[in-house]
Symmetry: D2
C-alpha cells in the first residue's frame, strides 16, 4: 500500500489501556492559557521515567468555555488510577493554581468515573463556593485576585502507545514529516503526542542486554547508524533516520483518527519513504491498530 | 524611594541557598532547541510541590556552542543535592535524549563540583566516546540518528527565592508589569523565573490555620479580595492585585541583577503603583536582599 | 445595556462597502504557511496610507486544503477593484511565489466575480498546467522546487470599517481587553483585523484643522490625555485609554459576528469599563451596525 | 574548500549599494514591540516588486532603549533615497503610530545623513515636544494615550543583495539548512533577510526570454526540476533543491559577517551538500564577496 508514493508497511501499532484525565485551563488571554497549559504538561513524556504522560490537547475558544474566556484542554494520563490522581492534583496545584488569571474546569464532564482534586484547601477557609456557567466551583483568594476551579475531574479508560514510524534516507525529511504529522494531530480533540514537539527520536526496547540494571535501552534493531553491526536489523535499505510519533487518546477511535491524519500529513512531505509502526508481536498490548485498516 | 513614579517599599526579599545545575541543550534549529528545553523544565515551579525548580535561562547562538548549533541554557535547582542529581538525570533522559536532533552539554564547565549523569547506558553497549568541540561526549545510536551528551554536569551553591511583588489598583496593570519584569530577566544569564510565564499569582504561607494537613496555603494577608476580613492585612489601600516574581540564580549577584532589571521594567508599565518583596522577618533565609540597595 | 458589568453604548459602527479577495496559502508546515501569510499581509493596516488592508484570516488544516498540506486563509481588501487586482498580484508574486514550499489557491471558489492573477509568466515558458485536488493550477519551476498556484481569485463585495471601542480608566486593561477581542475574532472565518496585533491606538478624523495638507489627523475628541482642552470631548469621565478594533469582512454577517464575539471577549477582561463604536453620524457609510442589536 | 563536509564553491556574491535606514520600535512588552515591527516590515521582500526591502533586525533589551522599554531595531532599504524617505514615513505612520503603546526612535543616531519623518502633524496642533532619554521627541495625543517619536532618522549607504545558495539532494535538508542560516543571521545587528522567513525559493533572472513584458522571471539554469531541459544548467549533479539567502546590511562588513555565520550554520545541518552564491559575472554590482575569503 502507498500514499502519495510513500510505502505504508503492512504492520500494526500495539497499544495499551491507560487512564486518561482532562482539564480545561482558561485565562485572561489565549497566550496565557497556552503558557500555563504547557507548564502543567511539561516533564511528562513517558511513564517509563516520568510520573505521567501529558500534553496540550486543543484550543477552546471563549464562546464554549464555562467562564467565556479562552482556554486549552490538557490531557494527563497514567496506567495507574492512583498515580493519575496524584499527578492531576500536583500539576493543577503547582502549575495552574499558581498562574496569573488561571481557572480550571473538568475536561470530561460526561465521564462516569471522577477523581477528586481538592484545591480549595489552599484557601485556608477563605475560599467560597461559586457557580461559573453551570459548573460548581470554588473561588480561592490569592495575591493576584481569585483562583476558580472545579474539584472533580472525569477520567476515562483510554489508550496509550498508539504509534507510527516515519522513515527517510535523510534525517531532515524524516523530521519535517514527523512535524507535519504532529501538526495534523494537534487540532484533533481527544489525542495528544506527549514527547518534546510531539516526536520520539529514541524509541526503546524493554530492558538492556549489556546493562542489566536498565529498565529500557535503545532499540538497536531500528537504529540506522549501526545497521551494519546488527544482523537482525529492521532498518530498511537506504533509510538513515526514523522518527516515531506516540499517541495517547481518550479512546481507540481518537487514536485511530490521530494516526490516520498524522500518517497522511507525513506522506505529504518530500523525501519521506516509508511509514511503519511499533509492536511486540501482539504479545503485550490488547490493542492492535493495523496501518492499512486506517485507510479503508 | 520611587522609580518612574512607582513606590519602592523599604523592605527586603528573603532568599535561601539552593543547589543549581545547568545544561546546554542544542538542536538542529533554535525552534527545536527551545521546544526541548521547555519540556525538560516543565512541571517545575516550586520545590514545595514539584521535584525541582527549573526554567529556560537564555539562548546560546551557534557560534558559542560545542557543536556549533543553536542552543538554550536551562537551569534545574533543588536544595537537596541528591534530589537534584535524580532530577537532572530524569529530565535529561526523558525530555532531551528522547527529542529529535537533540544534544546536551555541561552548562557550568568551570564548576568545582560535578554530578554524574550516566546517559550512555541507554546505548546498551552500542554507544561510543567522541570529542565534540573540546568536550568529552558519548554518541548513542537512536532511531533518529545519534544522541550526543556529556556525562558530568557542574553544580554550584546558588540562591532560590529571590523575589519581588508588583502591585496595582488594576489586575491587568499588575499583570503587564509582571510580564515586563519577566521579559527583562529572560535574557540575563544565571537567573530563571520558574513559575508559568515567570509569574506567581498565589503566594503562599507555610502551613494552614484551618486545614492542619496542608503544608502551605494562601497568604491571606496579601490577598486583595479579602482585605476587609483580615485585620493584619498587608494589602495597601487601593491595591487590587499583586503578582510575585520568584527568581533562582547561580549566585546572589545574578539574583540581584535580575531583581533590579525586573523591577525597573515593571516600573515602566502604566498603572503599576508599588513594588514590595516577601520575607519572613529575616528569620528563615540567610540572604536578605534590600530593594533600595539594588539601586545604589 | 451591560455585559458582565461593562456598559455597552447605545450607538452604532458605520461601515463601508469594500472589495474583498481571499487566498489560501499552503506550505510544508503550519509554521511556514503562517510566516508566509504574515509577510504577504504586512504593511496593510488602512487604505488611508497603505495600498491595501490585509490580514491572516484563519488556519486551514491539511485535510481540507487542495494539496492536503496545512494552510492559512488570507484576506486582501480595497474599495477599488483595480487596486485590489494590483495588490493581490503583487503580494502573491513578491511574498508567496518567493517563499519556500509555498502554494496558493483561490480562497473563494464560489465567488461569481473573479480577478486574474497571472503568476505563471514567471515560469518563462517552463511552467506547466497541473490539477491539484480539483483545482486547475500552474506548476512553475523554481530553485527550491516547484511553485503551485491557481490564477483566478474570487472577490466579493464585502464590508470595511466595522469597529468598536474598548475604554478603561487604565491603559493596560483597555489593551488586554482589546487583545481578548482580537483573539476571539482570530478564529472566525471571513473577518480580519488589519492593524498591528489587530488593534488601533490612534483613531483618526478626516483632514486636519491646523495642518491643511494632512488627509487625516488625530481624533482629538477621543483623546484622553487632552480631554481638558477639548470642550466637545467624547471621552467619558474616568476613562484614560481607548483602543479601537477595526474589522473587514466578506459580508455584513461576518462583521456582525466578529463584533459580537470581540465585544463579549473584551467584556470578560477586568477593568474594561465601556464599549462604544465610531461613526460619522450616519452620513458617510451605508452600513450602520448598532451595538445593542448584536446581542438581540 | 569544505566546511563540515559541505563543499563551498569558489565563487562570489555580487552585491549593490543601497540606502539603509533604521528605526527602533519600542512598546510596553517585547511581544508588542515584535508584532508592530513585523507589520511595519511586511510586504517588503524585494525592490523588484515591493516599494522597499525591510526586516526586523534584532531585539533591544529595555536597559538600552531611550524609554527603557523593550524594542526591536528594524531596517528599511531602497536604492533610491527619495523612495526610502516615502517608505519610512508611510511604514512608521501606518504601522507604528497606529499601534498600541508604540514609540519609535532614530535607529542610527550617529549617521551623518538624516531623513525627516514628520509624524507630529498627525497631532493636529495638540502634539508637544518632549525629551525621552537624550532624544528630542514629539508626544502626540491618541485615543490609546500618547505616541512618542523622533522625527529625524539616520540613513547610511549600505549594501543590498549579499547572498548565498544552499543546495541539497533533498528539499527538506536544503530548507532546514536555510532556516539554520537565517537563525544565525537573526541576532546579528546591521543585517536583515527580507524574504518570508528569510529564505528565497524562487531566485530570478533579469527579464524573460518568452514573455517580453516581464521584468524578471525564473532563473531556469538553477531550477532542479527542469535540469534535463536546460543545456546550460548550473544545477550540480544530484542536487534537487536550492534555497537562497539574500542579505541587506548597513555595511559590507555586516553583510560579510552575516554570510559567514549563515553559511557555517547551514553547513551544520545534515544533508546540505553545497554552498554557492549568485552573481552576474561581476558586471553589475560593485561588491564581489568571495565565499572562500569569508573564512580566511
Amino acid at each position: 500500500m502507498e500514499i502519495n508514493g510513500v510505502k505504508i508497511d503492512d504492520t500494526f501499532a500495539e497499544a495499551f489501556p491507560c487512564w486518561v484525565s482532562s482539564a480545561l485551563v482558561t485565562a485572561v488571554s489565549r497566550n496565557w492559557a497556552q503558557k500555563i497549559s504547557i507548564e502543567a504538561t511539561g516533564f511528562a513524556t513517558s511513564c517509563i521515567g516520568c510520573a505521567a504522560e501529558a500534553g496540550v490537547d486543543y484550543y477552546v475558544p471563549p464562546d464554549t468555555t464555562p467562564d467565556r474566556r479562552p482556554g486549552y484542554s490538557i490531557m494527563i494520563c497514567n496506567p495507574s488510577k492512583k498515580k493519575l490522581k496524584e499527578q492531576v492534583l500536583e500539576r493543577l496545584a503547582e502549575c495552574v493554581l499558581t498562574a496569573p488569571t488561571a481557572a480550571v474546569f473538568n475536561g470530561i464532564p460526561t465521564a462516569e468515573e471522577k477523581i477528586p482534586v481538592k484545591l480549595h484547601f489552599f484557601g485556608d477557609g477563605y475560599e467560597r463556593q461559586v457557580k461559573v456557567g453551570n459548573r460548581d466551583c470554588w473561588a480561592i483568594p490569592t495575591m493576584g485576585g481569585e483562583f476558580i476551579c472545579e474539584e472533580e475531574y472525569g477520567i476515562v479508560k483510554g489508550v496509550a502507545g498508539g504509534n507510527f514510524f516515519i522513515m527517510s534516507d535523510n534525517q531532515m525529511s524524516a523530521l519535517m514529516g514527523a512535524e507535519a504529522a504532529v501538526e495534523a494531530i494537534d487540532g484533533l480533540p481527544g489525542a495528544i503526542t506527549s514527547f518534546p514537539g510531539g516526536i520520539v527520536a529514541s524509541g526503546s526496547k524493554v530492558g538492556s542486554s549489556k546493562y542489566k540494571f536498565m529498565g529500557a535501552s535503545t532499540n538497536e534493531v531500528y537504529c540506522p547508524t549501526i545497521r551494519g553491526k546488527i544482523p537482525s536489523t529492521k532498518v530498511p535499505e537506504g533509510i538513515n533516520a526514523i522518527f516515531e510519533i506516540v499517541i495517547d487518546g481518550v479512546s481507540v477511535e481518537s487514536v485511530n483518527t490521530a494516526m490516520r491524519e498524522g500518517i497522511e500529513a507525513a506522506c505529504g512531505v518530500p523525501g519521506v519513504k516509508i511509514i511503519s509502526a511499533g509492536n511486540y508481536g501482539g504479545k503485550l498490548g490488547p490493542y492492535q491498530i493495523k496501518l492499512h485498516d486506517l485507510f479503508k
